[in-house]
Homo-oligomer: 323 residues x 2
Amino acid sequence: MHQQKKVFKEVTIDLGKVEKELEKFLRVDDPILAQTCIYLLKAGGKRMRPGFTLLSGKFFDYNFEKLLPVAMALEIIHMATLVHDDVVDASLTRRGRPTLSAAWGNSVSVATGDFLFAKALEMIVKIDNIEVSKELAKVCIQMGRGEIQQIKSSYDVDQDFKQYLYRIKRKTALLIGLCCKLGAMVSRADKRQIWILSTYGHCLGIAFQIVDDILDITADSKILGKPIGGDIRQGIMTLPMIYALKYSPDQSRIRELLHKKNKTEGEVEEAIYLIKKSGGIEKSRKIVDLYIEKGIKNLKELPDIPSRKALIELARFVAERSY
Amino acid sequence: MHQQKKVFKEVTIDLGKVEKELEKFLRVDDPILAQTCIYLLKAGGKRMRPGFTLLSGKFFDYNFEKLLPVAMALEIIHMATLVHDDVVDASLTRRGRPTLSAAWGNSVSVATGDFLFAKALEMIVKIDNIEVSKELAKVCIQMGRGEIQQIKSSYDVDQDFKQYLYRIKRKTALLIGLCCKLGAMVSRADKRQIWILSTYGHCLGIAFQIVDDILDITADSKILGKPIGGDIRQGIMTLPMIYALKYSPDQSRIRELLHKKNKTEGEVEEAIYLIKKSGGIEKSRKIVDLYIEKGIKNLKELPDIPSRKALIELARFVAERSY
């Protein structure tokens, strides 16, 4: 986390303000919602999304008052989708702690997510910028479609790279792309500049998700904050698995293992071993590098300010992180 | 249903258009979402909410083009909350058919509800009326709070009338109140007129929910479209139960029954018998009548047009319906 904090140093003070405003905005006198919202806020989210919005704004007419509600809406939408995703995927841990659904049950999680969506709507109304609202609505719809895709594709060992991309685009990349896009938009960037930052965020989001999926197989679970192999257990097909299914000499065994519901711990370990052995990790890392390169390629057209360096470092950090 | 159709006759043609536009707007090329959305649309919802919006508009400067997106947003929000409520309450049937969560599972239901919320957001953005958006956001937040309250209060035999009202206000009344309010607002009603229709909708919503709760105990399950006693089974404390718990000589047995999870069918039947015997139904009906009276009281200040008669008939229909 330390390294990540460093790359956001251009906007550290303002990110602190975003955090305070989020706490204030999500304060509610209902005892359960108050607790679940605090639980989510204190879960140590990286606030990467507001970070991207603010950094993107730095290149142009940076106005924190205008960026703040946009950054907040984006983070709240992110929080809401995480909560519902954990219900959909039946995930038990996130960031080293039980998920809201594990700790409070699915019903409370569904309701908390709905409350957060409603708060995001309140914030969007406050922003009162039709272009911003349109972009947010569009991405929310696509995220909803991604959620369905995630369910449909679970335990589906016949998925290909294209289907995987469709899914992680909606799960992660569109929102991070939008964070950068809106940061630029409300800071009065021109069309080309908005496109450069939007593309950066999008590519970074894809890379980020692939790394996430790699770490689920390769990481140290203590550093990762959750047991590894979660995707294997939950039947979420990730890029290393897709490559292993395609190229490994053990593909029929891998197929059998990944398709099976309720795997034993031994089977999860065997799957991890076979995926690692298949070269799927290395192939996935190459895709990460391609997206990182594509994402930062056009940044050089933007003013050479510290935020540009920060965005490039962030991209490298995303590619190389171990948690 | 026949009688209800009759009271909406002032707006039948336009309601048909709302239906068509809903079908068009919720068409999506994802096969699962396409199916779940059609399933929900064909489930025979009464489209009461768009009906209220249109009828309320009739008193003033009725402009269907302006009312349509508002009516659609309201109905879609309603659909989304129904889907998530059925997850939260683990309901198995609605309107004579399996709920989406029973038929497709909780994950698909959560995702479908999220997709619908996102579509509602898209529609709200299209409306592009800050006052309308503010009202919708406010009510969505309150509905989220109601959802949590529903969970918290389940199997809680110590609830009182006030807590019950808090809950059904958020579950039902606020949205119906808003349907009338927005119908009047976008048709350029004045403040007093908006208040009259908003109050009408709110009171009708309260009455509607109490009748729903009564019917869950007294109805013929074939006419109702779902087995009776559902609230008792799911631990949802309703007004007849609250009165029975307070006034019945069998209150300790009722307490025991209602508090128990996983009741046998015999116990559900016994609870129904004891609640009926307690006089809780009659007491609840009196509250329904009070709200109906309060709701229609000020309608006489509005122009004497067929829609006024329709609203009054609708109120009586809500009070007297058997399904």
